[in-house]
Amino acid sequence: MARAVTNRRKTIATAAAWTIGFLIFFPILWTVLTSFKSEADAIASPPKFLFFDWTLENYATVQERSNYFRHFWNSVVISVGSTLIGLAIAIPAAWAMAFVPGKRTKDVLMWMLSTKMLPPVGVLVPIYLIFRDTGLLDTRTGLVIVLTLINLPIIVWMLYTYFKEIPADILEAARMDGASLRSEILYVLTPMAVPGIASTLLLNIILAWNEAFWTLNLTAAKAAPLTAFIASYSSPEGLFYAKLSAASTMAIAPILIMGWFSQKQLVRGLTFGAVK
């Protein structure tokens, strides 16, 4: 009897999980479906789910009208660049905070996190003016700088939690064994922290790839990444749903594929430290 109840509960829980999962996934599915419709089908009422004339013309038009690969390359440079620079700064920072904490380490961490609580639009004007005066507007360098700064607190926090999990004993053992600081980092710490560094890297590439506020506000044409590419197809009247969907699908496809292949690493990264 008890067993039957458990099984029924399991079925209900599974159904609920699938439903929620589907609800979350639905907008993406709808976007992908719409990208294969004609503009007329895209706005048809009632909406057509699967039975419409499948077409690739939106992709062709989008490719004709704008240079997808230039935007794609900008996105790659900006997201990978800002993440690598962020890691280079954050690894020593998180290292110091995890293994040689001072009296104020916790405060510094909180302060770093608190910068994420500020609405970005609050600093838009000063940053815009600084960028204008230094000639960084619409440059990839400018975006790399801004995204590095924006995501640095998250990178430091993630790495800090990873490093915290590495027992200090092991580092002390390495020190007793005659390892210099360099060998300690190279042969003991880094190999142990590789999974953590990898998932931090992946997550931050995704965050930077999808970042829209700064990339839209600080670029015009030259440095515009895929977010700007999507935005160029949105119009207040909503006349080009199908083309907008095609652009969106093309923009999210690379990161979706990357996420798919690294999901094991990502899930581990996001739930790390939750269960000891």
Binding site: I170, R175, G178, V188
Partner: protein
């Protein structure tokens, strides 16, 4: 060689003095055990010797040379940690070879030494496994192997057996003692377990709140504890400490009598009480005798076959010659 001298060594964390200035000499080849309740500063003292903590005052000399400011690796000491602290991403072979690799030895020399250590520690069949695939006892052996290959002038052990189960602990205790006999190298061993201290040490250092309460051989501490703290800490079960009128009869503030120095009789004796909990070990029985009017409970050690039950009235007769006397400060009176 491995003679370690602590000269007025002190440690403060901010305003908190963990170890007030203390002096101690560890002779070459000695097996010295630091023992004390948790938080007494024994691990900190070991870490000061290792160089993993900086001293706040005083001097540490190793073989006569000032090592106070010398880096941990340059002190010629090897340490075995409570958590084993093995490198999880390296095989047993690489773990043991790590200090040799850091010292820049050739691959050939490394292999030779690692295999030698593995043979001594029965690890030959496990050299290509990772620490995660080993049992607790095997991991501890790897940690010891990593210490041995360095041929240190002294080994430092920080509660190395506390993560092992009871049976394994007794086995490893013997192995470490055997290793000490074979290598004749100085060993400094930290534990909170007085049985480990008694069974392994040449010399025990009893610590309490950062201070050295007494230094001596296990039997010295057992027979002539310098104060009530050492009296209560060394020996199992604990010495009975009796204050008040009974102590006043002997003209002192506290008297101490070990459980094994009290005779039990159902008919007659000096003190009268009721049997509380009995612990039967087969070879011995420990009775906790209540309602004696002397202390909350008096622990008595009797033979394995004594037929007494909960609630029985018993008479206790302490062996006056084995009684310890302490003054109002808790210090021993001869």
């Amino acid at each position: 060689m491995g003679r370690i001298t602590l000269d007025k060594v002190a440690k403060r964390f901010g305003d908190v003095e963990v170890i007030p200035p203390l002096d101690l000499t560890i002779e070459d080849g000695e097996f010295v055990v630091f023992v004390g309740p948790s938080g007494c500063g024994k691990s900190t003292l070991l870490r000061l010797i290792a160089g993993l903590e900086d001293v706040s005052g005083g001097q540490i000399r190793i073989d006569g040379k000032d090592a106070t400011a010398v880096q941990p690796a340059k002190r010629g000491l090897a340490m075995v940690f409570q958590s084993y602290a093995l490198y999880p991403h390296m095989t047993v072979r690489k773990n043991i070879a790590f200090p040799l690799r850091m010292a820049g030895l050739s691959q050939q020399e490394q292999d030779k030494k690692v295999e030698g250590a593995a043979a001594v520690l029965n690890l030959t069949n496990y050299l290509d496994r990772r620490p995660g695939q080993l049992s607790g006892g095997q991991r501890q052996r790897v940690a010891i192997g990593r210490a041995i290959v360095r041929e240190p002038s002294a080994f430092l052990f920080d509660e190395p057996l506390s993560n092992l189960d009871a049976a394994l602990r007794v086995g490893m205790r013997l192995e470490i003692s055997e290793l000490h006999n074979r290598l004749a190298t100085t060993m400094v061993y930290v534990t909170h377990d007085q049985v480990e201290a008694m069974t392994m040490a040449d010399k025990i250092v009893v610590l309490n709140a950062g201070r050295i309460e007494q230094v001596g051989s296990p039997l010295e501490l057992y027979h002539r504890p310098r104060n009530t703290f050492v009296a209560g800490f060394i020996g199992s079960p604990k010495m009975n400490l009796i204050e008040g009128a009974e102590a006043a009869k002997h003209g002192v503030a506290t008297i101490g009598i070990r459980p094994e120095h009290i005779a039990v009789s159902p008919e007659s004796g000096t003190w009268k009480g009721k049997v509380g909990v009995s612990e039967h070990l087969g070879s011995d029985t420990f009775f906790h005798v209540l309602d004696t009017g002397l202390a909350d409970a008096i622990t008595v050690r009797a033979g394995g076959e004594v037929d007494l039950h909960h609630g029985d009235t018993v008479y206790l007769s302490p062996d006056a010659a084995k009684m310890h006397r302490f003054d109002t400060e808790g210090l021993r009176i001869e």
